[in-house]
Symmetry: none
Subunit: 226 residues, 2 copies
């Protein structure tokens, strides 16, 4: 016997949720609230709640603030977010604030049941499609060749220049680099100038930023391993 509370100001969605739950989750009591204030009163009156489904766009609590106050006030109550938003960062923030799950309103019925049972069993639920999308959504064969295209500018550097750039990226001064590589500081300067020209950077800091964007670490690891 589970007892859930749905805090959402859309009656249609509450009804839909009601239908899904009563069809798929036997023996479940479903309470409802259409704003945060009544939700809080309901929680205080029912101290045996198993889960709160919290909408993120309530009239009296927009965004994650409602979640925060609820977590602070009723730390014993698991809260799962229900929202129309689909931003990765929002999901992560919600979990970071103690939510035990994030259910997009676009979730199909069957998946919604999976999510609820998973959460009620003590697991977390995150929308896989959203969380995986930004990087792994396309088929694996498309973005398979990053080497010489993305590494465009890094590849134009000579071995010694890469050595120098590596030192630069670790925060060394020209003098340090000279000692490290056993060459004169003027030589280091020569290399640095060449690096800046090739990377089209305006300063050594800029060069390092560019190099990191182009995965200097991976590039160096690949060179050293081959």
């Amino acid at each position: 016997m589970y007892s859930l509370l749905v805090a959402d100001d859309h009656p249609l969605f509450r009804d839909a949720l009601h239908a899904v739950i009563s069809a798929g989750l036997a023996d479940t009591q479903l309470l409802e609230a259409n704003d945060l204030a009544t939700a809080i009163r309901t929680i205080e009156a029912h101290d045996e709640l198993d889960l709160l489904l919290l909408d993120l766009s309530l009239p009296d609590a927009d965004g994650l603030e409602g979640l925060k106050t609820l977590r602070d006030t009723f730390p014993w109550l698991p809260v799962a977010i229900v929202s129309a938003h689909q931003e990765r960062q929002l999901v992560l923030d919600a979990i970071a604030m103690g939510a035990v799950g994030y259910i997009p309103k676009s979730t199909p019925r069957e998946q919604l049941l999976v999510a609820l049972t998973q959460i009620l069993q003590g697991q977390l639920y995150l929308p896989a499609d959203i969380m995986r999308r930004p990087s792994a959504q396309s088929e694996p064969h498309v973005d398979k060749l990053p080497p010489e295209t993305s590494r465009g500018r890094l590849a134009s550097l000579t071995d010694k220049q890469l050595d120098v750039l590596d030192c630069m990226a670790q925060g060394m001064s020209n003098k340090h680099i000279a000692r490290e590589l056993s060459i004169a500081e003027t030589t280091v300067k020569t290399h640095v100038s060449a690096i800046l020209r090739k990377l089209e950077a305006t300063s050594r800091v800029h060069a390092i930023v560019i190099a990191n964007k182009q995965d200097l670490g991976v590039y160096l690891a690949q060179r050293h391993s081959s």
Copy 2:
């Protein structure tokens, strides 16, 4: 037929994982690597990998840096973290960086199979015990300020100093920063000096390296969102 790659420098753990998988996941090819460099080479040689299990304490890639480079280089490859650490924030950071799961090394065998199958089916997996523990069991006042422990030195910076550091990390010169923030260049210098002192850096480049090691980006994102 799944094919997995385990990147972990502990042979014992690799063996244990091997045993669990061959016992519970039929038809699974398991590749192994004991550092990041060989892992990268293995990935390049096997473009049909379904999942990478990445340890967070590899000899040539400590912490989340390895995950970052892997996500940047092979965005098509799902990466799940395997780690002995049990900090909430670390788990969240890993997911934020594109990991599809986080498996503590203390996970019991049965649960490990659950996690792997869940991940291989396209879901995310997070350790419920860790994620629920800190906020749902202890009093609400304890975990309200996580900053100062993990982000040691960064937390000692003032708001303006963080602004300046952010600009620095993007490769701007003092003059640029002055224009960007609408303050005098001498003021920027003052801030930079304070930053170097607090981060115990010897130059602006060094400061940026240190800041990146302490996840400046994540830290700033958290501040701006709160």
